[in-house]
Point group: C2
Chain length 144, copies 2
């Protein structure tokens, strides 16, 4: 008997609303406005596909960290992370060549920095968005 | 003299807000709540990293289509697109193996279906998020 692992489906819709703008929707979730960014002749102040891509990596690493930290019983007070995606023109097209992710974690007294760092690197290696992309993901953590 | 093509940087922050939730922020843009999805012991009704990943591909194809359609002078009235991402357990880890993107375009009278379809396929090939990922992107357009 073959053991079949679970698979999941994620369905997201986008509807053009005029100019270079659209509305992103997912069942039961608040809509998010999206637009081409200003550097590609779009709009200021609206989430772009480029932003969403970098956001998905940053949030996936946090989400995976939360799961692993929970299992390992790591006690922390804060987690915040800035991710910077680099879009470069390579071989005649734009590609995200690198995303630098800079998590800053504030541990509870008595917790070991090395343990937190190990969990964080494990989270990056197991993040399902990182697993799905060609872009290099580099982790630069600060643990306090 | 070397000609250096432009590069761009996208900076996105995420801050843990408790449980399996966080707040995504980008300078000058409205914050977006993010959470681990229910199937990974998270929360209902909140955008997940998985959703954002599929959304970035769907929105990128729309955004690229809008640019190419503008340049080609294609006149259309509606563009909406449903994208379905398939997350599978492969070689001991979760990976997005495929995203099926189903754009539905309503053309203005007199426009040719074949022209719209050609622009759409060109948009998929040139979408900078598609260019950056391992996940297979399949286009299933409907042109009316």
């Amino acid at each position: 008997m073959a053991i079949r692992a679970k698979s999941y489906r994620y369905t997201i819709s986008v509807r053009w609303t005029g100019e270079k703008k659209g509305a992103l929707t997912a069942d039961g979730k608040p809509p998010v406005e999206v637009a081409t960014p200003p550097e590609f002749k779009g709009h200021e102040g609206i989430w772009s596909p480029e932003d969403l891509y970098v956001a998905s990596v940053n949030a996936c690493i946090m989400s995976t960290f939360l799961a692993f930290a929970g299992r390992a019983g790591l006690a922390f007070e804060e987690y915040e992370s800035e991710a910077e995606g680099l879009l470069e023109f390579v071989d005649d097209r734009f590609v995200f060549t690198k995303i630098v992710v800079r998590p800053r974690i504030v541990l509870r007294p008595g917790e070991e920095r090395a343990k937190a760092e190990e969990i964080l690197h494990k989270a990056e290696r197991n993040c399902l968005v990182s697993n799905s992309i060609r872009t290099e993901v580099a982790l630069e953590p600060t643990i306090v």
